[in-house]
Amino acid sequence: MEAFTRAVRKDCLKMIHNAKSGHPGGACSCVDILAVLYKKVLNVPLEWDKAVDFNQRDRFILSKGHASTALYATLAHCGYFSKDLLSGFRKLGSKLQGHPSSRTKLPGIEVSTGSLGQGLSIGVGIALALRLDKINSKVFVLMGDGEMQEGSVWESLMNANAKKLENLVVIIDRNNLQIDGLVDDVKTLEPLDEKLRAFGFDVYEIDGHNFEQIESVCLEAKNSNRLTAIIANTIKGKGVSFMENNVSWHGKAPNDEELRKALEELDVK
């Protein structure tokens, strides 16, 4: 798992460097969560779209669409599509759009995201459809903490509880930073756990870089029949010393030298 996430982080940074734009900070903060989800938790067939039991798959929505590189690299390293495609990230005609697009038919991408605050609500809709069809799959939605400032998120949380959804799991990548600074300074979410509980969720708080914790809590949520929210405490830019907890790396590409240093660090670890 350690080696896997190191390789994914390296590819995220290479993709962003190659595209000369992208979002390294929020990608690196959720790499470990994605790795555990795709390798240990989600039932998502590799033969995307063609599997016999395709409808039975778990659904994953990356609501924080700007972390697209983390999802793309994870999917490629898991074998959903060729790693060769990664170099096309953000390039004209590529299936790897700046933010995930379902239009490009990239295996593994369920729906388009990018405009913040919509993924959870999409997840609620999918969960309702699965329940109507009596399909026992789970819907996992990964959100950013800054994203939770969008009012529509709270409409969705309210609706998930009102509709008594038992098949929805919300994971919050709580890296505490957003473009303009600390989430706490811009517009605090605190007390987030109490708010989520008040909205009817079972709330778990974990270290979002601890593989064992991520796995055990996500599996517990997957097997639970209650609405679950997982607050994953993470570090923005995790894995690269000069990017960690540094908000200036929210949406900036590393130059040649910065990339070299970053890859070197990731190799040593």
């Binding site: 990018g114 609500s121 999409i122 109507l132 409409e155």
Partner: protein
């Protein structure tokens, strides 16, 4: 094609009834509303199929993306609220989730246009068609009577992809003959034949236009009246043929003159058949409270006002 009798009926009731009928045939249809189910008449579906109806409360943005999720889950989704809130408030959700992912969501918005009446400007959607028309892959349909509402809803249920269907609050006089009229999703329709002028309309102004055309006839002006329920995609042929003959085109709509049917007609004509055009609609302004008929009169959308405007326009060289 045109009906002899002019019974008046509610397009919202007609929508609600049709949903119930379609829901019986197709278990895949689900319906969402945002606390206006009695106004939009989706309450009929809610009563018939409670497990397939989702009231999302007063939270339209969440409703739109929830609708998107249900559609992604394989459902045929009808989502209703007032046109004002369905479009302006949820534009991002409709663009970035429903249309960008090309999902099977039918937004059936009631209370479109100035004829919302007494509630005033905050509830009068005069820009909704403009908003919806500008989004890629969104189909925009504005039916003109209850016969057509029924046809359009059935067409929507059987056609994949995002769609915006606008119906008014007001009762509508019957225009079409239920036996002989069939909604054509891929063309405008010529309802009367003339040589002097082309008049294009849809929605609740179509009836007024047909009456105005009769008045024009009495003073020797013969008009092609074209009905364009499908505003987007815009099907050029019928308009082009008519405009090449008459060289003068009037568009009448219960919407802002910016971005709606008038704009669609101008875009088409400038390309295929440059003509003099007069657009009759709400002129870049907010509406106000008033009785439905008073408002139609005030904003120049009654048969008589349309007639007067056209008489003036016919003098333009």
């Amino acid at each position: 094609m045109l009906s002899k009798n002019q019974t008046v009926s509610s397009p919202r009731n007609c929508y609600g009834e049709k949903l119930v009928e379609l829901g019986a045939k197709n278990p895949n249809i689900v319906v969402l509303d945002a606390d206006l189910s009695c106004s939009t008449q989706t309450c009929r579906f809610a009563k018939a199929y409670p497990e397939r109806f989702f009231n999302c409360g007063i939270a339209e943005q969440d409703m739109m993306t929830t609708a998107a999720g249900l559609a992604y889950g394989g459902k045929t989704v009808f989502v209703s609220t007032f046109a004002m809130f369905a479009t302006a408030r949820c534009l991002d959700q409709i663009r970035n989730t429903i249309c960008y992912s090309k999902l099977n969501v039918k937004i059936v918005a009631t209370h479109g246009g100035i004829t919302v009446g007494e509630d005033g400007a905050s509830h009068q959607a005069l820009e909704d068609i403009s908003f919806m028309r500008s989004i890629p892959d969104m189909k925009v349909i504005v039916p003109a009577d209850c016969i057509e509402v029924s046809d359009v809803i059935e067409y929507a249920a059987n056609t994949n992809g995002p769609m915006y269907i606008r119906i008014p609050r007001t009762n509508l006089k019957q225009i079409f003959d239920s036996e002989t009229y069939n909604f054509n999703p891929v063309a405008g329709i010529k309802l009367t034949d003339g040589k002097d002028l082309t008049i294009v309309s849809n929605g609740e102004t179509l009836f007024e236009v047909l009456e105005a055309a009769k008045m024009l006839n009495e003073v020797g002006i013969e008009a092609d009246v074209l009905h364009y329920p499908v505003v987007k995609p815009f099907y050029h042929t019928v308009l082009k043929q008519s405009a090449m003959k008459t060289k003068k085109v009037v568009v009448v709509e219960n919407h802002s003159i910016i971005g709606g049917l008038g704009s669609a007609v101008c875009e088409s004509l400038s390309h295929y058949a440059p003509s003099k055009v007069c657009t009759i609609g709400i002129k870049d302004t907010f509406g106000q409270s008033g009785e439905q008929r008073q408002l139609m009169e005030f904003y120049g959308l009654t048969d008589k006002k349309i007639y007067e405007k056209i008489i003036k326009f016919m003098d333009v060289r």
